[in-house]
């Protein structure tokens, strides 16, 4: 039932290779590996989706849905495209954005406004020192973004709205939105292109 309280400071030595091995076992229908992967990444995934949907109950649903998809589709993970945790977060974010869009369709729910990336290291998800360093470099680039670029990037990231809608909301010309988002993305990519996981 409730596992022993885990140290969320993530001090344990762990690498993406461990997660890859868990995914391999999940592919072999080993439910214990699914539990282990959940123990490892449920908090990080919950953090991301909660920042998107802003509803703890819905965020928990998405966490469960995402790990179930990981169970079902473990074979689709490609190590060359990033860490297992990144793959999980990508699936979770997509699920969260689907929920946000459904809300908008049905209730014209206000967007999550004001949600931003965190500028200071949180120690989260830093099981792997290489990955931690990599995230820190991206975070550093994020801090260096001009506010007008970062704002638009965060609107796109956390709200999942298209550039046309961003232009409508902000009153900026569409081309300006596009250019600012592109510039932001280019700056964030730079540290990633210098080192692969």
């Amino acid at each position: 039932m409730i596992p022993p309280d885990r140290d969320l400071s993530y001090s344990e030595a762990r690498s993406n290779a461990d997660d890859v091995e868990l995914l391999r076992r999940i592919g072999d229908a080993d439910e214990a590996a699914l539990g282990a992967l959940y123990d490892q990444w449920s908090h990080a995934l919950y953090s991301l989706v909660l920042n998107l949907v802003r509803d703890p109950d819905e965020a928990e649903d998405i966490v469960e849905e995402t790990f179930w998809q990981a169970w079902r589709h473990a074979g689709s993970y490609e190590p060359s495209r990033g860490a297992v945790s990144t793959w999980l977060l990508t699936i979770g974010r997509r699920n969260a954005l689907d929920r946000l869009r459904a809300r908008k369709r049905h209730r014209d729910h206000p967007r999550s406004r004001g949600t931003t990336f965190v500028d200071t290291p949180s120690a989260a998800n830093a099981h792997d020192t290489d990955l931690a360093e990599r995230y820190e470099r991206v975070r550093s680039s994020l801090r260096g973004l001009p506010a007008e670029q970062r704002d638009l990037l965060e609107m796109g990231y956390f709200d999942g709205i298209g550039q046309a809608e961003i232009a409508e909301v902000t009153g900026l010309p569409m081309e300006t939105v596009r250019t600012r988002v592109r510039l932001a993305m280019q700056k964030l990519r730079e540290p990633l292109s210098t080192q692969r996981p």
Binding site: Y46, T86, L89, V118
Partner: protein
């Protein structure tokens, strides 16, 4: 959307990477990128960047009790699916077999010798050897009558037990059908069905004990816990529980002589109904009681709130 030219597709790469493009635009851009030596790597790099951003958000802790519930459901679903995959055929559990094993009655696969309860039947039992038949003929007829009466009483008692167990199973099936608390958002109805089947399977074993839940003021039972001591599955049903207070939930505890072991948390539906299925290894002799307390949503490691229901082992 029809095929996009290079410039059009290139202009949409960020939106696709951010997963904020319209589906038709996204598909058209991906189709272009899959064949474009410039847009393909560009899109892949942008998607990697977006994926990495997922690690840079404010960290929030999942409630421990609820997290344990999610974990248990996932593992149970995974196990049920694995077992279904490896089974020779996919279908609902054979409840007849479960009832049979609970009551001691045989089912179709049971050798007829085990089903025989009267001398009349035994005459047609192929399992009997000539010696056994000879021995049987030497039994005095009066004693034979007593055996027949005793066997009949045993048969009646077993039949009564069968009716009770069948009623329990119907009740559980009714609860499973009525409650929605077990189906957060599954990716398919099939998965939900398998989860519920796993619960039925868990309570159908031969070593299931049932603990009624109640409290001092309750006019009727508030629920029951079924503990399959062979597989260590725990299935709890509640009915008519009041809603926990704002920011609160119910937490379940396995009580032993020395400690209260947290066993998951739940929030009943609007009718006060809930179903919870978890696995927890526990030695048979150490359980003293099960209690349900009202606790803060973040979960606690030992009970702090009022007991809303409980049952002695």
């Amino acid at each position: 959307m029809s095929r996009l030219g290079h410039d059009e597709a290139s202009a949409e790469l960020e939106a696709v990477a951010l997963d904020s493009a319209a589906p038709d635009v996204r598909d058209a851009v991906r189709a272009h990128a899959s064949a474009c030596p410039e847009c393909g790597p560009e899109l892949a790099a942008m998607e990697e960047t977006v994926a990495t951003l997922g690690h840079l958000v404010e960290i929030s802790r999942l409630n421990r009790g609820r997290s344990a519930g999610i974990r248990s459901r996932l593992v149970m679903r995974a196990r049920a699916e694995r077992e279904t995959r490896s089974a020779p055929g996919i279908g609902r559990p054979d409840l007849t077999r479960g009832v049979a094993s609970l009551t001691g009655l045989g089912h179709k696969a049971t050798p007829s010798a085990q089903r025989a309860v009267t001398g009349e039947v035994k005459r047609f039992t192929p399992a009997h050897t000539a010696d056994a038949v000879a021995a049987q003929t030497n039994v005095p007829s009066k004693a034979l009558n007593w055996y027949a009466i005793a066997a009949t009483v045993a048969l009646i008692a077993t039949a009564v037990q069968l009716v009770r167990v069948s009623a329990d199973k119907r009740e559980v099936a009714g609860w499973l059908a009525a409650t929605d608390t077990l189906a957060p958002v599954a990716d398919s109805l099939e998965a939900t069905l398998r989860r519920k089947e796993a619960i039925v399977a868990a309570i159908s074993g031969p070593d299931v004990v049932v603990l009624p839940l109640t409290n001092r003021t309750a006019q009727r039972p508030l629920g029951r816990v079924m503990w399959n001591r062979s597989s260590n599955d725990w299935v709890m049903l509640t009915y008519g529980l009041r809603q926990p207070g704002e920011g609160m939930m119910y937490q379940v505890w396995l009580v032993t002589d020395n400690t209260h072991i947290p066993a998951g948390s739940f929030r009943p539906d609007t009718n006060g109904n809930a179903v919870m299925h978890v696995k927890h290894d526990l030695q048979r002799a150490v359980l003293r009681a099960i209690t349900v307390t009202e606790e803060p949503e973040r979960g606690v490691t030992s009970p702090t709130g009022p007991v809303v229901a409980g049952g002695a082992a």
